[in-house]
Amino acid sequence: MDLLTRARRPARLPHGGPATHLRDPVRVVFLALAGLVAAGWALVALDGGQFLTLESVVGIQQRSAALGIVAIGQTLAILAGSLDLSVAYLISLASLVAAEIMAGQDGNIGPAIAAVLAISALVGLVNGLVIARLRVHAFIATLGVALIIKGVVDHLYDGPAGKVPESFQLLGYSRAGPIPVSAMLWAGVAVVAWFLLSRTRLGYRIYAVGGNEEVARLSGIRTSRVIVITHVLCSVCAGIAGLLLAARLGAGAPTVGTDGGYDLESIAAVVLGGTALAGGRGGVAGTVGGVLLLAVLDTLFNQLEVNSFVKDVVRGAVIVVAVAVYARHGTRRPA
C-alpha cells in the first residue's frame, strides 16, 4: 500500500458515452456528411430532381479527387506543425511538366511521371529545409517558395502547354462502374498516408514533432529530418494532383492550381476534418471526410443552381463553425 496511489484520485478518463462520440472530430465530419447527403436528397427531391444519380456520384468523386490528394499531403504537413502554401503553384508546375514531357506520346508517360515526382520532391525538400534548417516560419517559407514557382511558371508559360496522350487521359476520365480511377488514386494515397501515420515510426514522429518539436527533439527524434520528409511527401501529393489534373485537362495549365484555390482550400479541408492547425492531433480519415463534405456541398449547390457567391459564404461559415465545434468538444481540460 503506498501513499502515491492512495492520495491520487482516479483520473477522469473518457468513457464511451454519447458525448464522447461528438468529441471525435472524425465522427462529427462523417455525421455531418451523412446529414448533408440526406438534406440534399430532400432538397433536390423537392426541387423535382434526383440527388444521387450516377453522374452526380461520379461528379462528387471527380470533383474531390485532386483536392483530396493535395489535402492528404497538407494533412501530413499540418500534423507535423507546419503548413504548405506552395501547393497551388506546384500543381500548375507539375501539370505543365507532365504535359510537356508527355508531348502526346504514350512512351513518354513514364519519364513524365518520374520528372513530376522528382520536381515535386525537390520543391518539398526546399520547403522543408528552409523551415527546418533556416528556421523560417512555414507560412513565410512556403509563401516565398510559392512566389518563386509562380515567377518561373509565369515566365515560361502564358497558357496551356504540352499534350497528354489519350492513354494517360484515362486516369482523369475512366471509371469502374461508379468509381472513377481518379477516386481510386485518391483512396490509394489516403490509405498509404493513413498507414504511414498509424503504423510507421515516421508517422509517430510526425505527430511528435507537431505536438511539440522540443519534446520530440529531446526524446531523440531528428526533428529537422521529419519536417523535411513531411514536406517532401506533401509536395509529392501536390505533384500527383498535378498529374491528375493534366490528365483531366489533356494539357498542362499555368493557372490550374491557383484557379482551383488548392492552397487555402486544402488547409480548410484539413481543419474541417478535425486536424488541429497547431499540429499533433488529427488524421487522414477526417481530411477525407472534410474533402467529401466540401464536394457534396458543391454538388448540392450545383444541383440547386445556387449562385457561386452564396457558395463562398456558406463554405466560409461551415469551416468556422466546424472548427468551433471541435474547439468546444476537444480541449476542455487544460493539459
Partner: protein, 316 residues
C-alpha cells in the same frame, strides 16, 4: 527599436539603389509619389502588426479592402453628397469585421487563421452576391481625393500615413500596446494579471479592420472602383510585418519595424520594376528575398521552455 535596425538598413540600401537608377526619386515629388503608393500597404501592415504581435493572423484584410471599395462605389454611386456618410460607414464597417474576427477567435477558440480565412470567403462571396458579380456604381470625386489629391504638394495619403504611423506608435507605447504585447507573449500570465485578453485581442483585430478601411479609402481613391482592389494584400501585409522582424506567434517586434517592412517591400517592387526584371520573374526574386531576409533575421535566440504545468501548445 533594436530589432528595427536590420530592416531599416535594408530599406536604406534599396532606396539608394532606386535613387541611382532614377534620380527623380531623390526629388521631393518623386519620393512623395513613392510614399503615396506605399501608403496603403504600410497602413495595412500597421494593422496586421497588432494582430500578429498578439499571436494571431488576419487573412481577411485583402477581401475586406475589396469589399469596402465595392460597397463604397455602390452606395455613393457617383453622388457627391454621399461621400462623407459613406466614408463614415466604411470607417465603422472595417472595425466591425475585425470585431467578428476577434470574437470568433477568442470566444469560440477557433484559430484565427481559420476564422479569417472564413471571413475572407464570406466577405468576397457576400459582396459579390450583393452586387451581382462585379462592382457597380461609382466613387465620387470627393472620395477619390484622398487617394489622388493632396495638400499642396503633399498627397493626402502621405499625410494619412504619417498620422496612422504616429497613432500606431503611440498605441504601442500606451497601456493597450504593452498589455497586447504581453498577451501575445503569454496569454495565460496576462489573463492572471487582470488583462482582459479577449478584449485586447478583439481590439487588435478591430484595428486591423480599421487599417483595411483606411487602405480601402486610399486605394479606391487612387485607382477607382475595382474588384481586384485588395487582391493578395493579406499576404503582402503579413510578409511586410515579418520582414520587419515581427515574429509570427506573437510577443515580439515593433510596429515601426513592421511599417518599415512594408516600405521595404514596396521599394523592392519599385526597384525590380526600374531594373526591368521581367514581370513574371519579379515574383521569383521577391520570393527569394523574403525567405533570405527572414532567414537572416532569425537570430537563434533560446527557445521558450515548455513548463511542466503549462499548456504544451502555444496558440497557433
Amino acid at each position: 527599436m533594436k530589432r528595427a535596425l536590420p530592416i531599416l538598413a535594408v530599406l536604406v540600401l534599396l532606396l539608394a539603389a532606386i535613387a541611382i537608377a532614377n534620380p527623380f526619386f531623390l526629388e521631393p515629388a518623386g519620393f512623395l509619389a513613392f510614399l503615396k503608393r506605399a501608403a496603403p500597404l504600410v497602413i495595412l501592415a500597421a494593422g496586421q502588426y497588432f494582430v500578429v504581435v498578439s499571436g494571431e493572423f488576419d487573412l481577411s484584410v485583402g477581401s475586406l479592402v475589396t469589399a469596402e471599395v465595392v460597397i463604397a462605389a455602390r452606395l455613393i454611386d457617383g453622388d457627391e453628397s454621399a461621400t462623407w456618410p459613406v466614408l463614415a460607414l466604411l470607417i465603422v464597417a472595417g472595425p466591425l469585421a475585425g470585431l467578428v474576427n476577434g470574437v470568433l477567435t477568442t470566444k469560440l477558440r477557433v484559430p484565427s487563421f481559420i476564422v479569417t480565412l472564413g471571413m475572407l470567403l464570406v466577405l468576397s462571396g457576400a459582396v459579390f452576391l450583393w452586387t451581382g458579380g462585379a462592382p457597380r456604381g461609382a466613387l465620387s470625386e470627393g472620395f477619390r481625393a484622398f487617394g489622388r489629391g493632396g495638400l499642396g504638394p503633399v498627397p493626402w495619403s502621405v499625410l494619412i500615413l504619417l498620422a496612422v504611423g504616429a497613432a500606431a506608435i503611440w498605441l504601442m507605447r500606451a497601456d493597450f500596446g504593452r498589455t497586447l504585447m504581453a498577451t501575445g507573449d503569454n496569454e495565460r500570465a496576462a489573463a492572471l494579471s487582470g488583462v482582459r485578453v479577449d478584449r485586447v485581442k478583439i481590439f487588435a483585430f478591430m484595428l486591423s479592420g480599421l487599417s483595411a478601411a483606411v487602405a480601402a479609402i486610399l486605394l479606391g481613391g487612387f485607382a477607382g472602383v475595382s474588384a481586384q482592389a485588395g487582391q493578395g494584400l493579406e499576404f503582402s501585409a503579413i510578409t511586410a510585418v515579418v520582414l520587419g522582424g515581427v515574429v509570427l506567434g506573437g510577443g515580439r517586434g515593433s510596429v515601426l519595424a513592421a511599417m518599415a517592412g512594408a516600405v521595404t517591400l514596396e521599394a523592392l517592387f519599385t526597384l525590380l520594376n526600374l531594373y526591368g526584371i521581367s514581370g513574371a520573374l519579379e515574383f521569383t526574386v521577391q520570393g527569394v528575398i523574403i525567405i533570405a531576409a527572414v532567414a537572416a533575421g532569425a537570430v537563434r535566440l533560446p527557445r521558450k521552455p515548455t513548463p511542466r504545468r503549462g499548456d504544451a501548445h502555444a496558440a497557433s
